[in-house]
């Protein structure tokens, strides 16, 4: 794909160098962007950052490994509450340590859910993970003493470091935190996707019998994919808690799980670049639709449902125009511009190869 059309000789023959280069360039662009917009935009960008992490994690699970999850909102909740409980102490550890703990705790939960998921397929897996998403927020009111019931927990975050100046907007600092996490996540996932681990994910997705005959332990691979994906969701949840300053059950409803899946599908399942588009859409669409309903002065009934309507409409349009998601559309367009017929799989196929692993030549 385009971002990786770097020469495969010299230092760029190395996967990590190639991915880090893209990440550093992206980081510099984002640094400029976040420094030139107002505090509200920085807040929105901070939200995009953790959505990227969550959507990228899900796109690996669903796009590369073929497992659907409607429970990623609940996995984010595990991360968020982990962050809240750790930060609610007299001497909280540095934020990096907190976020790593969010990843670890959620990965463990993901391993348990994933072990169950590896026995289920298609709609049964969707149902089971949906039940997880519905059920988990209920625990907060059952153990209200620890989790604060419906009001949730406050998350105490440290202000931007003094070296940045007293006037430095905290929104920009938060944007930097989530964007840095997003870049690290994308680099790691891109490494994984282009390795034999990523190939074994895709082999299991495509044909379990053949994958087994090739020596791949199918169930173990599925659990591994679920753990990787859950770890991302945990990080995203921790970041969400930091950005919003709280962890409440209401923030991790089924709607969040569905939104993350919608983001992955919109961007193009299996594509990490698509995960970025999807995450941007998740933040931009509600903002655009509420602007629109204000301008046209719709009633509150319409207004509160506008984002859902726009999601739905956009999903339908994208599936009709570019069934491989936005990234699939971009790739097809690039192919047309280069005057080549794009090597597209048939229209009715719902999975795509991850864009970052397309072999050269």
């Amino acid at each position: 794909m385009a971002t990786l059309a770097l020469p495969r000789r010299g230092p760029f023959a190395s996967t990590i160098v190639r991915h880090l280069t893209v990440a550093v360039v992206g980081g510099l662009v984002l640094l400029l962007l976040t420094s030139s917009v107002n505090a509200y935009r920085d807040f929105q960008i901070a939200n995009v950052g953790y959505y990227v992490v969550a959507v990228a994690g899900l796109t690996v699970l669903t796009g590369l490994n073929g497992q659907i999850s409607l429970g990623h909102g609940a996995l984010m909740m595990v991360g968020a509450y982990t962050a809240a409980l750790i930060l609610d102490r007299d001497n909280p550890p540095p934020l990096v340590v907190v976020l790593v703990l969010c990843v670890v705790v959620t990965a463990v939960v993901g391993a348990i859910v994933g072990a169950a998921a590896a026995r289920l397929r298609g709609p049964y897996l969707a149902g089971a993970t949906l039940a997880f998403a519905v059920g988990l927020p209920g625990l907060t009111s059952h153990y209200a003493g620890t989790f604060g019931g419906d009001n949730g927990l406050s998350v105490f975050t440290s202000p931007p470091p003094a070296s940045l100046g007293v006037d430095f907007p905290s929104e920009r600092w938060q944007a930097w935190i989530t964007l840095a996490a997003a870049l690290v996540t994308l680099v790691l996932l891109a490494n994984l996707a282009s390795s034999r681990v990523g190939r074994s994910f895709r082999a299991v997705r495509d044909d379990e019998v053949s994958a087994e005959l090739a020596g791949i332990h199918v169930a173990r691979t599925q659990v591994l994919a679920f753990v990787v994906s859950a770890a991302c969701a945990g990080l995203a949840g921790g970041l969400l808690a930091v950005v919003s300053g709280q962890a409440t059950p209401g923030a991790f409803s089924v709607a969040l799980s569905l939104a993350i899946l919608a983001g992955a599908v919109l961007g193009g399942l299996g594509s990490l670049a698509g995960a970025v588009y999807g995450a941007v859409a998740l933040v931009a669409l509600p903002a655009i639709s509420s602007n629109a309903s204000e301008r046209f002065d719709f009633g509150t009934d319409v207004k509160s449902n506008m984002p859902l309507l726009v999601y739905g409409a956009l999903l339908v349009i994208v599936m009709l125009v570019a069934p491989q998601g936005l990234q699939g559309g971009v790739r097809r367009l690039a192919g047309l511009l280069r005057g080549r017929s794009p090597a597209q799989p048939a229209r009715n196929e719902s999975v795509t190869e991850v864009s970052v692993t397309e072999p050269e030549g």
Partner: protein, 270 residues
């Protein structure tokens, strides 16, 4: 006939029952290292079931399976590669959404060493591993004369080429035992000659067991042939011996040979 003590694959007194149906009845056979053994028999004779037992897809009701002298009591399909067994499927089972080269690379995974952490961090070791797999897989495609389709998706290729990719995926693992399930189905006469040539080239390199309907192919490539009928071994011997065997003539060769109509319900991926 002498019985080697250390057969590559040995099946002893194997019985498989599906409910009331006896698919295999006290079947014994062995494949020596470097030997090509054909399993033939009329439709429903139990050939594919025999393969499925050898792959761990089907657990035998009674009887034993030995790989190079080691009994395999709880064989699972994902262990085959480690045991040095590769198998092609009747339905090919290519991975449809990854390129032909990557399909073959999955088959070569047995040779890879880099683990999860190495892959996650994109360490040079992972890159070296990948480059080695890629090279090995490319060489295999080249050997089978299909190097130019390495970057294509399997579905975009005609069936005989897909078959070669599937064969490359099995061979690239460099197995000690290769199980070929109907390698000639859907091939033209010329392509079948190529295939026969290829299988003869494998003799001495690995043990090959093949299930096949095309008698010409079986007779021309096999060192030994085992004939199944209604789940029982009714004859075993060299092609010449089997051809002359009256029970075989009665059970099988006397009938019209149907080249394509193997029962699909026996396939593991059906």
């Amino acid at each position: 006939m002498t019985v080697a003590t250390q057969a590559a694959l040995r099946i002893d007194n194997l019985t498989v029952r599906f409910g009331g149906l006896v698919a295999l009845d006290a079947v014994s056979l062995w494949v020596d290292p470097g030997e090509v053994v054909g399993v033939i028999g009329p439709n429903g004779a139990g050939k594919t079931t025999l393969f499925n037992v050898a792959c761990g897809f089907v657990r035998p009701t009674t009887g034993s399976l030995e790989v190079r002298g080691t009994p395999q009591r709880r064989l699972r399909p994902h262990q085959l590669a480690r045991l040095g067994i590769a198998r092609t499927l009747q339905g090919l089972g290519l991975f449809p959404h990854i390129t032909c080269l990557e399909n073959v690379m999955v088959g070569a995974d047995r040779h890879a060493r880099a683990g999860f952490t190495t892959a996650l961090l994109g360490l040079p070791r992972s890159d070296r591993d990948e480059a080695a797999l890629r090279e090995r897989s490319m060489a295999m495609l080249q050997e089978l004369g299909v190097a130019e389709i390495a970057g294509r998706l399997p579905a975009s290729l005609p069936y005989p080429l897909q078959k070669r990719v599937a064969l490359a995926r099995a061979l690239v693992a460099e197995p000690e035992i290769l199980l070929l399930d109907e390698p000639a189905s859907g091939l033209s006469a010329a392509e079948m000659d190529d295939l026969a040539e290829l299988i003869r080239g494998l003799r001495g390199r690995m043990a090959v067991m093949l299930v096949e309907h095309h008698m010409d192919l079986v007779m021309s490539v096999c060192d030994r042939i085992v004939v199944l009928d209604f789940g029982k071994v009714i004859a075993t011997g060299t092609p010449a011996e089997v051809r002359a065997d009256e029970r075989v003539l009665a059970a099988y060769l006397g009938d019209e040979v149907d080249a394509t109509d193997e029962s699909m319900s026996e396939a593991p991926d059906a």
